[in-house]
Symmetry: C2
Subunit: 228 residues, 2 copies
């Protein structure tokens, strides 16, 4: 259960202020599949970073499973990020000096999993996103869409209970994009994982059950997806 109340985010730039979020209130229940849409610069990534405990709001409260996030210390936050949440970044954020396989193994290193089991799990995750033949490539030896898929595999590897994906299909052709969406839908419908993702593509949003729309730092719409 995600509960964000009246979240603002203000960046100070010299003597000017940028209001990235101007009071966003959002509730997401366990097992939901939610799409966040809105124009470029409307605050989607800013909101996702706050929901993912990667950033703090300037004001407002954020509760994750009933726990108020700004009351937690760094260790507790790291635990939540590592175990509960899988985050797919809009710009991937892969480690450039190591292979796809090592990148995907990384969350399992932090959670203390043994080497052989870790490697098998990472191989399976890369296979699931169609990259079985690219596991030893480093990010700059991968296409844009392949890098995006490594970032997705890494986010799923710890079997988090919440997945936050910031435009996970932006660099993918429709077929690869559909394969990724099928993975997300399976995780949501079969394993009950709560999934929130940002997308610019209406056809992708149509496959979710709820669409939250942002504009200029505010939530301007929040409605269920109508069955066609």
């Amino acid at each position: 259960l995600i509960e964000a109340r009246d979240i603002t985010k203000i960046y100070q730039m010299g003597d000017m202020q940028v209001h990235a979020l101007r009071g966003a209130t959002l509730e997401v229940r366990l097992g939901e599949l939610v799409a966040i849409m809105g124009p470029s610069g409307s605050g989607k990534s800013t909101l996702m970073n706050i929901l993912g405990c990667l950033d703090q709001p300037s004001s407002g409260e954020y509760f994750l499973e009933g726990v108020e996030i700004d009351q937690l210390d760094d260790n507790q936050l790291a635990q939540i990020r590592g175990r509960k949440i899988g985050f797919v970044f809009q710009t991937f954020n892969l480690l450039s000096r190591t292979t796809a396989l090592s990148n995907v193994e990384l969350p399992l290193v932090y959670s203390g999993m043994g080497g052989r089991q870790r490697r098998k799990r990472a191989m399976d995750a890369l296979d699931a996103v169609g990259l079985a033949d690219r596991v030893h490539h480093r990010p700059n030896e991968l296409s844009g869409g392949q890098q995006q898929r490594v970032a997705i595999a890494r986010a799923l590897i710890n079997e988090p209970s919440i997945i936050l994906a910031d435009e996970p299909t932006g660099n993918l052709d429709s077929k690869s994009g559909a394969e990724i969406m099928a993975i997300f839908q399976h995780l949501n419908e079969v394993r009950g994982i709560t999934i929130i993702f940002v997308t610019h593509e209406p056809e992708i949003a149509q496959h979710t059950r709820r669409i939250v729309s942002l504009a200029d730092g505010r939530i301007v719409d929040d409605r269920p997806v109508r069955e066609p």
Copy 2:
């Protein structure tokens, strides 16, 4: 006029070979507006880098305006890249320590334009892509789609005769994407600039006059866009 004949690109990975391009032949005339489509990993960015003189093929020939590119020295190549070609990278490649404005000014610095005129031109270019109020932000103070638009403004600033754009609307909502496409179409129809861009979105490709399709390192289709 772009003439690429039987272009291959092979990456050596240890004792394995990755065939990113397996013999691509492509001719593009002055003033064309061409979309390149294909699955993730099919060789689109690799082909674009070769067309943009940023990379060399493993075999095959590439002629740009009748000049055989592999006969040129580094200086001549730099001239072509700086003056003739505007390149929008799939992963933006902005300088992270400097502002949007400085990033966009950079090609004009290299072409020797004076400071005041350079600044005015860069301000106009950023205004044209809707970023007038973000000129002093650095890339990590910009949204994904805003970074993409800075990369687009930078590619246009030198008024190149050829624009190569690798998924220029991948991070943009449909409205911002349509605004960018309108800029490209204007440059093509009114100023006669030759434009080749990679896209995953069929609706965007429909606004061009020719669609080249890649699969597994080969050009598998090349046809005009039929009027609806």
